[in-house]
């Protein structure tokens, strides 16, 4: 059994502990450990991705217990793709945080960052729904710390809302899991898929409730239309690099919807027929419209980007809500694109905000900041990608989604909303770009021209001293440039990429190999010393599922296994 699958979870967990306990007062050591960890994580993620790209599904049994008794991690195409995306994003965000010095403005940035990575990776890899809940909590509690990193009243207030909203979401998740367990007696996803398929239609009330509760929970995480209100305030107030890292968190919700509604409640399942088709697509379109109109109406740059996140999540959900192989493959293409584009935008906005003094991220003209032209160019490219204009990957993703929606009954609405909101977002982004960057470049000329006019002179005197003359550090510019280069590369290689995505979607829609890999792999042999016979190990898994912890007697594997299981519980 290869231990590489568990590395993306164990490595950040260990590193976080090392960073907290050993290098608390050594910022340089912290940075070295964090960077080395992220680099190693990227290498492991690439390895896993290559391993799964042939279509093999790899299983890791924690504590060597057979599923559904033990917790399993499963690496298939979808999981490894998102693990790789997270690893790539984390490197760029970490470099930016180090380059701008954000990591030293409060304590424990690197440790929380690693815990956040651990939660995200675990959520992508786990094959057990309760374990998914636990990893959600791990990533959330780390995100609470990151969100209020370096403090400030406004940030803490936004943090309170964020924590409360997610606390309610977690409670709802537990209600959904309880219902699911009461109906099926298992929480392993592969096992659930088998058992849900066997439920008689006349007893379907409970399982239908659970299915809808689950999608509401994931919709909260993914910020889909009626439950998106937590996002703008919290992402806008979070420190720039943290907001960029959060770009992957909404995708965790989208991933959970894709996973659960292709594996456990597949679209052809009669039991849950018509549960989501009715309203998920319209809600996604509403979310898209709300987001893009928000981009147009925002009065601050950071708010604008958060609304772009809501819009892109709407677009993504619209593709997912088709529940066809084409739709999912388009959604996967769009997930990678929108994560990179959102992160780049958040990082650019962070640099702008840093260098504009008290004007911060307001959408108003101010004296040019150092590196104005480079930043303006990068904002231009990232905005083109986000708004989905040709030639970048946003345009291709949108084309794929439009194409996938062709057979949907709501095709007219889908096309109208997607194309209409594109126009709205283009207007919004170009207005913001011209106000912040373009007019700033003309600022000095105007100031000289207006120096005779006492009124404007007063205005200038009131605003210019705020402009700090600090030079723009190089590293953040390089990381943003790297992200944008990645978007360009992603566009250039979109042929092979979209073939990979199609293969991934096909794997999702034929779940038999996944289910048989998870359920048919034997675990460890158990010696029964008691006086009862081994009669209950085949079907009656009502008994012990999450017993992975504390099985520390398994040779070389024991150490890693025990640690993860402890973290997971």
């Amino acid at each position: 059994m290869s231990h590489w699958i568990v590395t993306p979870v164990v490595l950040p967990a260990m590193l976080a502990a090392i960073i907290v306990l050993l290098c608390r007062h050594h910022p340089v050591l912290q940075r070295i450990f964090a960077l080395a960890g992220s680099g190693a994580l990227l290498a492991v993620a690439i390895g896993l991705f290559v391993q799964a790209s042939g279509g093999t599904i790899t299983l890791y049994q924690l504590g060597d217990w057979q599923a559904p008794f033990g917790i399993v991690l499963v690496a298939d195409r979808l999981s490894t793709l998102l693990v790789l995306l997270t690893a790539v994003l984390s490197i760029f965000v970490l470099l930016h945080a180090i380059g701008t010095g954000w990591d030293q403005r409060g304590r424990h940035f690197h440790a929380l960052f690693q815990f956040q990575l651990m939660g995200v990776m675990g959520a992508f890899l786990t094959g057990d729904l309760f374990n998914l809940f636990v990893f959600f909590e791990v990533l959330l509690i780390a995100s609470y710390g990151l969100m209020i990193h370096s403090g400030g009243t406004k940030r803490t207030q936004a943090g309170t809302q964020y924590v409360l909203y997610n606390l309610l979401g977690s409670t709802l998740f537990l209600f959904a899991l309880g219902t699911l367990y009461a109906e099926t007696g298992t929480l392993n996803m592969a096992d659930l898929a088998n058992r849900v398929a066997q439920i008689a239609p006349e007893n379907s009330a409970g399982i239908r409730t659970a299915a809808v509760l689950l999608v509401i929970v994931f919709a909260i995480k993914a910020a889909i239309a009626p439950v998106h209100f937590w996002l703008p305030a919290s992402y806008a107030e979070a420190p720039g690099p943290v907001a960029a890292l959060f770009a992957i968190m909404t995708k965790v919700g989208a991933y959970a919807i894709i996973r659960v509604y292709t594996l456990v409640f597949p679209p052809e399942l009669e039991l849950t027929q018509g549960l989501l088709e009715m309203w998920l697509l319209p809600l996604a379109l509403i979310g898209l419209a709300v987001g893009m109109i928000g981009v147009l109406g925002a009065v601050r740059l950071d708010r604008m980007v958060t609304f772009a996140v809501i819009g892109s999540m709407g677009m993504l959900t619209a593709a997912v809500a088709l529940f066809t192989a084409e739709g999912i493959s388009a959604a996967l293409y769009y997930i990678v694109h929108s994560t990179l584009a959102t992160a780049a935008l958040f990082l650019i906005v962070d640099l702008v905000e840093e260098h504009r003094g008290s004007r911060g991220a307001e959408l108003s003209t101010a004296p040019p900041i150092p590196g104005n032209s480079i930043l303006a160019g990068m904002f231009f490219v990232a905005a083109i990608a986000m708004a989905g204009l040709p030639p970048l990957s946003g345009f291709l993703g949108k084309l794929l989604i439009l194409d996938a929606a062709f057979d949907s009954p709501l095709v007219v609405w889908t096309w109208a909303v997607i194309l209409g909101t594109s126009l709205v977002s283009v207007v919004g982004f170009s207005r913001a770009g011209s106000t912040v960057f373009w007019k700033a470049a003309e600022w000095e000329e105007r100031m000289e021209a207006a120096s005779d006019d006492p009124a404007t002179q007063m205005d200038n005197v009131a605003t210019t001293p705020e402009a700090p003359a600090r030079p723009q550090p190089i590293l953040p510019l390089v990381t943003i440039g790297g992200l944008i280069g990645l978007i360009v590369l992603y566009t250039i290689f979109s042929g092979p990429v979209s073939r990979t995505m199609t293969a991934t979607a096909e794997q999702l829609f034929s779940p038999e190999p996944y289910i048989s890999t998870v359920l048919d792999t034997p675990g460890k042999e158990i010696d029964y010393h008691g006086d009862y016979e081994e009669d209950g190990d085949g079907g009656e898994d009502h008994a012990d599922e999450d017993q992975g912890a504390g099985s520390g007697d398994h040779g070389a594997a024991a150490e890693t296994d025990g640690d993860t299981a402890e973290e997971a519980h």
């Binding site: 009243t153 406004k154 207030q157 809302q161 009461a182 012990d544 017993q547």
Partner: protein, 119 residues
Amino acid sequence: MEFLVASGIGVLTAAGIYLVLRLRTFPVIVGTALLTYAVNVFLFASGRLTVGAPPILTDAERYADPLPQALVLTAIVISFGMTAVVVVIALGAYLGSDDDHVDEQEGALDTARKLESAE
């Protein structure tokens, strides 16, 4: 017994939801605490209600399902930790802005900005 447990969960949830919809932080936190109690009992009941049965699979017909008990333990620990975190963060926000509304208050934010710039 089923009726008793079910109505207990119902009352806790109803009270929790009412409190969560309040304006200020303290009732909201109490509300989330009530909701987590409700969900803990609910999870516990999801393995069917049994009295005086051993929590292991034996040859006997009756047994108490041990898995929900493990799930409840996890849920209790997590919700306890989360409640502690939200109390600390809410306290920080209240002490910083002298205002404990959950949603953004325009006036309060202005005060907060003034306080911050005064520092």
